[in-house]
Subunit: 73 residues, 7 copies
């Protein structure tokens, strides 16, 4: 199974997305493509002391460092 195949398992789950600029986003992953472009639904930008609601967000794939489930099991 290739790395991109694992993204399918993340679909509809709440994920954390870390961006190259250090920002952290949390939202429900509803779509992705081969460039790692993502749509996160109910997305928030989260930091130490606050959380900013963004709603539905398109994230450009080349801005992303890593994607992980919001609740490591």
């Amino acid at each position: 199974m290739r790395p991109h195949d694992y993204l399918k398992e993340f679909l509809e789950d709440i994920v954390l997305v870390e961006l190259k600029n250090g920002k952290l986003l949390r939202g429900r992953m509803v779509s992705y493509d081969g460039h790692l472009n993502l749509i996160l639904d109910d997305c928030s930008e989260i930091s130490e002391d606050k959380e900013v609601r963004l709603g539905k967000v398109f994230i450009r794939g080349d801005s992303i460092t890593m994607i992980s489930p919001a609740t490591p099991d």
Copy 2:
């Protein structure tokens, strides 16, 4: 539905565009392409304490980190 298909839903809506250099733009999205190049109409650059009117703006796709609706519903 692929991420780029969701951009169609954003057309004619007021969106927030975050750039890789950290700047934040707000405007009505009137056009996009596969490289994520955008045209925002009535665009302003917004920051903590001010808002600078730019009018119609061409944004180079590779400068963009994410795009979200200005009013998360």
Copy 3:
């Protein structure tokens, strides 16, 4: 109409070009191509407190963040 089609509307107009390094240029846009390479005529680099005349300038497209009219209507 695709984003690049809007650039045609900017031709012969005075535009502001913001570069990835944060610099701001103002000049008359006389030519562009699909890589967003530009020729600005009567171009100046503008900052808070001064304006440096550069004359005719070739700008490499991948240095550009955004292009907007100098006078938002």
Copy 4:
């Protein structure tokens, strides 16, 4: 044997992955592709003084500087 062939030896092993932004991740490498995209299982981000559990993580290949075994033999 080409460099990518050596990655096969790392499969199912605990590896350290250093990112271009300086972060260090440790986890079990369960998948990789030709772009160096990785899936690390039981992944943690480790730093001088703490370790943050992330669970299963997709790492974008172009964020990576190097990959090495967690226990140099």
Copy 5:
């Protein structure tokens, strides 16, 4: 006329070349190609307080932000 066609007008002229790292070079442009690689003859690196002679210089195109005539007419 495309942007690259204007470079032909700069040939044999003294030009200023601004690099992405902020450095400024001045020299006679004797050759260029489609990647914007340049040869500057009698080239100097110029800064506020000094000028360092470099002679004939090959400049890698992807290091360049912009090219303009040394004497805006």
Copy 6:
């Protein structure tokens, strides 16, 4: 002889690899490819005051600035 042909001479030798992020690695070069991806065996990260053993390391080619023999002859 092209630059990549010289890499063959470095095979099985102890080399220094300087990364774009400024780090310096030393190890025995056992494999390379056309993207400059490398496998260094018995690799250590070396700095002014210490040396950290990493073992066998995969280095992503686009992270590399230069490769030189550990013992300039």
Copy 7:
């Protein structure tokens, strides 16, 4: 004559190579290719106050800003 044709004139000459990270190397250029990958022989890294001998060095082309003769004539 295209910029890359001028590199042939630099062959076997002592050149200065400036890297994107600001470092300066000096050595005899014995090989280059279309990506601007270089082999410098008897190469040293030079700075204000010291010179570090590196021997034969492979320099990755995309790390390079410019190449010039060590002795501007």
